[in-house]
């Protein structure tokens, strides 16, 4: 008698647990799952470029003036529907130019060679190895993808701007206004943004997915090299082996993935 009651209770307990688990499992499927019916698949393109940590080496010796940088900035802003705001306070930028002393304030600045003092530097999101913006984001709208890109999921951005406060490089812009009226020619292949979200460079994730290099790299005539930092055989690693490079505000420990040959 005693034993059977005990086993009955055990069985009841296990069943109750099972009943409790089923709806919970459904809940996870609804939020984390990707809404697929049997037989349906989601795949990567065979052409997609892959890496463990994408990185960029910018050979600043190959740039002479702001005019050399303009086409790169223009092509990026054009394909990503980045608006050009007249009002500086509302400016949106994914890639822009910066003076050496502003880009590298912690570097030795007292006796700068004239070339470097004159030269505008190309700056963009550093796609840090330890991105402070990702830690600041309360909705995981900004996250570090498995290939090292620090990406924004605009669908989750609530416009709190913690990421902007966290980023030591000023790589992020906030849409104070609806950007659409300020886009000269809308590229139908990429969504615009809306009032109330933050945005920044995405290392051309949409181009890597179809086997193309980032637009600025393509437009740079070889001045910018893009590749996998974790692959010792990659072109960026070869450049880093052969040249002395600097990164922006290294002492902060964010591990920027943009390297500058000066």
């Amino acid at each position: 008698m005693k034993r059977s009651r005990r086993s009955f209770l055990q069985l009841a307990g296990v069943s109750a647990l099972g009943l409790g688990l089923k709806p919970a499992a459904g809940l996870f499927a609804a939020s984390g799952g990707h809404g697929r019916a049997p037989g349906e698949k989601v795949l990567k393109s065979e052409k997609a470029l892959k890496a463990k940590q994408w990185a960029m080496v910018i050979d600043t010796r190959k740039f002479e003036s702001a005019e050399d940088l303009e086409p790169l900035i223009e092509v990026c802003h054009k394909i990503h529907n980045v608006p050009s705001m007249k009002d500086k306070r509302h400016e949106i930028k994914w890639i822009w130019e910066e003076e050496f002393e502003h880009a590298f304030p912690t570097q030795e600045l007292r006796f700068l060679p004239e070339r470097i003092a004159q030269l505008p530097f190309l700056t963009l999101c550093n796609h840090c190895e330890h991105p402070p913006c990702v830690r600041a984001c309360p909705t995981k709208a900004t996250f570090k993808r498995e290939d090292g890109i620090v990406l924004m999921d605009f669908h989750r951005c609530i416009g709190c701007r913690f990421c902007m406060a966290a980023c030591p490089y000023g790589s992020r812009s906030f849409n104070f206004r609806d950007p659409r009226p300020f886009i000269e020619e809308i590229n139908p292949d990429y969504p615009t943004r809306m009032k109330g979200v933050v945005e920044k460079c995405n290392f051309c994730a949409e181009r890597l997915a179809v086997g193309r290099m980032p637009a600025c790299v393509e437009a740079s005539n070889g001045a910018i090299t893009f590749g996998d930092l974790e692959d010792p055989e990659s072109e960026v690693r070869a450049l880093l082996r052969e040249n002395y490079t600097i990164r922006r505000k290294q002492a902060l420990g964010t591990g920027p993935a943009i390297y500058y040959i000066v």
Binding site: G35, V42, L43, K44, A48, F154
Partner: protein
């Protein structure tokens, strides 16, 4: 002891009640006999030629918003951009470039249903809904 139950100001109270009831039910009277017709989403020539959607039509109506949610998570967060249907057809998981390629008549397709059901997806604040016009 006065036990008679008098309704003081009866006339006013009743009139007030009648007016109240009429006001509250006004929306029903107003819409009486004017039930909105069931939406008739129209297919474009291109969609008709393709015959099938990205999932069987029987469940498209009920699940298209879930598909879109899965698509955007997969594209943006998992770097996967290709959708393979149960019968092996492949699509680029894109709202503007795929859904609106077949259903380019958004007003007569998506919008007729959404207006009827009073849903207003905010996707079009960012996603381009007039792909052809934007190209011009």
């Amino acid at each position: 002891m006065n036990n008679t139950k008098t309704l003081y100001d009866g006339g006013k109270v009743i009139t007030g009640l009648v007016i109240f009831v009429i006001l509250v039910t006004l929306p029903f009277w107003y819409n009486h006999g004017k039930a909105a017709p069931e939406p008739q989403p129209q297919l474009t020539a291109k969609a008709k030629a393709e015959k099938a959607c990205v999932r069987p039509k029987s469940i498209m109506k009920a699940t298209h918003m879930q598909i879109l949610n899965g698509w955007r998570n997969n594209v943006v967060r998992n770097a996967r951009r290709i959708w393979e249907t149960a019968d092996g057809k492949r699509f680029n998981m894109s709202l503007s470039k795929t859904c609106l390629d077949c259903h380019s008549n958004k007003e007569k397709f998506c919008d007729t249903c959404h207006n009827y059901a009073a849903v207003a997806p905010y996707c079009w604040d960012c996603h381009i809904d007039k792909v052809k016009e934007a190209k011009e």
